[in-house]
């Protein structure tokens, strides 16, 4: 009883001191983004000295890090090996960082654009279909027009993955049924009744939609408020129509 009373007292003491922060909850040490009273700019992290290069971060491989060849021209070839995993990775990155403006299928009609941001060009115009991959990499890295750079948010390897995914998107918007492997093609309903050929490049790496469905599901699209991508709510807006054909 004595101890209950004592602990009660202690508890109330803690409560009464205004906060329940115990000892050592706040320690005199820095954690990321913790403000500093010591440095003039109030940050605990220091910027590296101008021109300093961290060990292992010389980034000499200009093709990989800048998307340029030795002459300063955009590279035509991917500096990384592109496989399904890379495209998958690219898609997740694309959906997070690009889709808000460029739209899930790259038509330039993302959510932010609908709120007034300057509409970027669709990826499915010839100029961009023919642009070298290095160009796209460069845009992500350094920005383009109204688009600010994404170099801080997206790491080089991810940028290439995004580029690879954009290439896949472009291909999907311009594909022919004959591009499908034979087995996949056989699974489709009779030609002309199912989804139009060349509907989606994403399908290449995804199971073909069930025959009785006319909705192409984008399971990895970033969540929209309704939770069902492209089917209702914001996705049902007229602006979304083109991607359905």
């Amino acid at each position: 009883m004595k101890l209950t009373a004592l602990s009660a007292l202690v508890l109330s003491g803690i409560a009464l001191t205004g906060c329940s922060r115990l000892d050592m909850q706040d320690q005199p040490k820095y954690r990321p983004q913790r403000p500093s009273a010591f440095f003039a700019d109030g940050r605990s992290e220091r910027q590296p000295v101008e021109g300093a290069i961290a060990r292992g971060a010389l980034n000499e491989d200009t093709a990989f890090y800048e998307g340029k060849d030795a002459d300063g021209n955009d590279v035509e070839e991917f500096p990384i090996a592109v496989d399904k995993a890379v495209i998958e990775r690219g898609r997740t990155r694309f959906d997070v960082y690009c889709a808000p403006c460029h739209g899930a299928i790259g038509n330039g009609l993302g959510m932010v654009v609908r709120r007034g941001f300057k509409q970027p060009p669709s990826y499915h115009i010839d100029r961009l279909r023919e642009a070298p991959v290095g160009h796209m990499y460069d845009v992500i890295t350094n920005g383009y027009g109204a688009m600010l750079n994404y170099s801080a948010q997206v790491q080089p390897r991810d940028r290439w993955a995004i580029v690879a995914y954009i290439r896949a998107l472009q291909y999907s918007e311009n594909a022919n049924i004959n591009d499908l492997p034979v087995e996949a093609r056989n699974k489709l309903p009779a030609a002309g009744q199912g989804p139009a050929p060349g509907q989606s490049a994403a399908e290449k790496n995804q199971p073909i939609a069930p025959p009785d469905s006319d909705v192409i599901d984008f399971p990895h699209q970033p969540a929209t408020p309704s939770g069902v991508p492209g089917a209702s709510g914001a996705g049902a807006r007229p602006g979304k129509q083109p991607e359905r054909k």
Binding site: K2, L3, L6, S7, V10
Partner: protein
């Protein structure tokens, strides 16, 4: 359980209570110390000295709370310094009180009646002092309630396989049961005080504290039963408490700590130091308050005998430790014994042997057992010796770790001493208050020792 007054013979040194006392006279004499006796200058002086020492505790504990346990001398490898030494020392001192009240009550030893109240109070105060050390040693005493098992926001529970948790249970149980036992024993005496005083405020206070005790035979019957039960439970309790304290050391794997004889050896050591402390306090109190007729030579003699017996058990423990250190053929065990005897703290070891083993041998002589002055000095030496024993156990075992790279030395700081002497101040302060405010001898049990208390039914009229 009638109490025949044992006739003095050559086995005994004297009666348990001097002749010439009556029911009324013992009541008035003991009660009078509280109610009538003027507050003497000596008492005030003693209280002030004790209070001054208590301030050392206050200051040291405050500084400790501000700065953390780093102000003490503890460090790696001696992480258990004064805190545990003093804890064990104090709790050992407490043991004599329970032992005198409980075991001697069970064994019908009537000589206990004159000293049990005082010894129990000593127990309570010593346990309070003892409990302070582990709590302060945790570093954050205000979170000490975390030691208790209760559903908390951390979803954590104490570790029931840890001897430190056993300590929590043992010490809190010990404190609670000692306090209950002590208070239950006080009830009839408080009623006596209530009825003896003429001052209304004293009547009110003692009246409330005695809870309206009126000495009803029906009450006494249950009261006696409860006392006996409490004594029956307090006896194994007191053994268990110091056993658990010994487990703090023994269940570890440190040479010098991990040894199976620790439980009985610690218990004997506790009783040893406890009886020594009772002697240390009783001898002056007996003199100052003129209680030679109630706390007789027989008491001193008996307590000295118990002290001697426990000293021998403790000595047996020392010899067993040394022998088995050799017999183990274990390099660490052997080094521990060797280090104790020849290492940097060897002087403490020999001092403790002198204090704990050599000094009490004088108690074989009845002349020494019955001369209060010498007995008092011996009891103080024993107290010092038992403190040194804990010092040697704690420090010599820790300061030489398994790896020589982790060897170190231990030196207490002024704050260690501040807390230690401060608890002595607290202890004395409480003792001073106790002897002033409450009857320090169990009056109703004293009455039972008197010839007039015996039931001689009149021949049928």
């Amino acid at each position: 359980m009638s109490q025949p007054v044992e006739l003095p013979d050559q086995i005994y040194v004297g009666p348990v209570i001097d002749e010439g006392h009556s029911l009324a006279s013992v009541s008035d004499k003991v009660g009078g110390i509280v109610l009538k006796r003027k507050t003497t200058l000596g008492w005030v002086f003693g209280l002030i000295v004790a209070f001054g020492l208590l301030q050392a505790l206050m200051a040291s504990a405050t500084w400790l709370l501000i700065k953390g346990v780093g102000v003490w001398g503890i460090n790696i490898p001696v992480g258990w310094g004064f805190a545990i030494i003093n804890f064990v020392w104090w709790i050992g001192i407490g043991h004599a009180g329970t032992l005198i009240s409980a075991i001697l009550l069970l064994l019908n030893q009537s000589w206990r009646n004159a000293i049990n109240r005082f010894a129990e109070a000593m127990t309570l105060f010593a346990v309070m002092c003892a409990g302070m050390f582990p709590v302060l040693h945790t570093g954050r005493p205000w979170l000490a309630y975390w030691l208790l098992p209760y559903p908390n926001t951390m979803a954590l529970w104490p570790q029931f396989r840890s001897p430190l948790l056993w300590d929590v249970f043992a010490v809190t149980t010990y404190l609670t049961i000692s306090a209950v036992f002590w208070f239950v024993g006080l009830i009839p005496d408080l009623a006596t005080l209530r009825d003896s005083t003429r001052k209304p405020w004293q009547q009110k206070v003692f009246g409330m504290l005695s809870m309206g005790w009126r000495g009803s035979a029906r009450h006494w019957q249950r009261y006696e039963k409860a006392s006996l039960l409490l004594a029956g439970m307090a006896t194994p309790l007191v053994v268990s408490v110091h056993t658990v304290v010994s487990f703090d050391f023994a269940v570890s794997m440190i040479p010098g700590w991990h040894t199976t004889i620790f439980p009985p050896y610690f218990v004997a050591g506790a009783i040893y130091s406890g009886f020594a402390m009772v002697l240390t306090l009783m001898i002056p109190v007996r003199k100052f308050y003129g209680l030679e007729d109630i706390i007789t030579m027989r008491h001193l003699n008996n307590m000295a005998k118990v002290t001697l017996a426990t000293a021998l058990i403790v000595g047996y423990g020392y010899i067993m430790e040394a022998f088995f250190g050799y017999f183990s053929a274990d390099v660490y065990e052997r080094f521990m014994v060797w280090n104790r005897m020849t290492g940097p703290y060897a002087v403490f070891y020999y001092t403790l042997i002198f204090c704990n083993i050599i000094t009490p041998q004088f108690l074989w002589a009845k002349r020494i057992r019955t001369s209060p002055g010498i007995l008092w000095i011996i009891s103080i030496i024993v107290n010092i010796g038992m403190w040194l024993e804990r010092f040697v156990i704690v420090v010599t075992s820790l300061h030489r770790d398994f790896l020589p790279s982790s060897w170190g030395m231990y030196a207490p700081t002024i704050w260690d001493f501040g807390v230690f002497f401060g608890t002595i101040g607290l202890f004395l302060f409480l003792i001073f208050l106790f002897v002033r405010a409450l009857p320090m001898i169990t009056i109703f049990e004293l009455r039972m020792l008197l010839p007039g208390a015996r039931v001689k039914e009149p021949v049928a009229q």
